[in-house]
């Protein structure tokens, strides 16, 4: 795993769809002078979706999650994961059909991440914002356990922005 903070990994699923897993710095947060750099996680589908079949199998999701876990293990950062609001490009189970796309992604990522973190090495703060104009926003902030205090400060900053 590279020590570079900004890095992009190409990933091809078991059925040949290409994704980019990108870790990039939020330069717009520089003024906040957080003790940890806040790193934006993006998962970008670069192949065209031509079928409703699920081309992101559980094994693929586990591999993607392990890339994310390896990144956080190797870097002293706060990872910012904002769940995309675009419709889920494949059929989802009846159990999850009532969920918003972003909520579905949030739950799925949370479950996958927890399964990868069976030794409790990380700390995760979730933020759920009900926006009257744009639906709900689901965000996760993750860092190594040793940075829990710094992560808490970032969460508190979000709360303080809301109080202003």
């Amino acid at each position: 795993m590279s020590k570079e903070l900004e890095i992009t990994y190409p990933f091809t699923t078991s059925c040949g769809k290409n994704y980019l897993i990108s870790f990039s710095k939020f330069k717009c947060l520089d003024d906040y002078k957080f003790d940890l750099p806040v790193i934006n996680l993006d998962l970008i589908l670069t192949s065209e979706v031509i079928s409703k079949d699920n081309c992101l199998k559980l094994a693929d999701l586990k591999k993607i999650t392990s890339i994310i876990v390896d990144y956080i293990s190797a870097h002293d950062v706060a990872l910012y994961y904002y769940c995309d609001t675009k419709p889920i490009p494949h059929k989802i189970s009846a159990k999850n059909a009532h969920k918003l796309p972003q909520e579905y992604r949030w739950d799925l990522f949370g479950t996958l991440f927890d399964n990868c973190d069976n030794r409790g090495r990380f700390v995760k703060h979730d933020i759920d914002i009900k926006d009257p104009s744009n639906g709900r926003h689901f965000i996760s902030l993750i860092s190594k356990l040793e940075h829990k205090t710094h992560l808490t400060k970032i969460s508190q900053t979000v709360e303080s922005v809301n109080d202003k």
């Binding site: 759920d128 744009n134 829990k148």
Partner: protein
Amino acid sequence: MSDKVLQINKPSEKLLDFLKVLNKAKEENQKKLLAKKDSYFPKK
């Protein structure tokens, strides 16, 4: 499992503007990466 869940039911304009700035940065990053996607997946 989450160590903390922050639920904001009445977001302020300032918080929603803050989110917009972050989302704009994400969007720009995604556009930049999509523009050079072929460099990550060389044709065989």
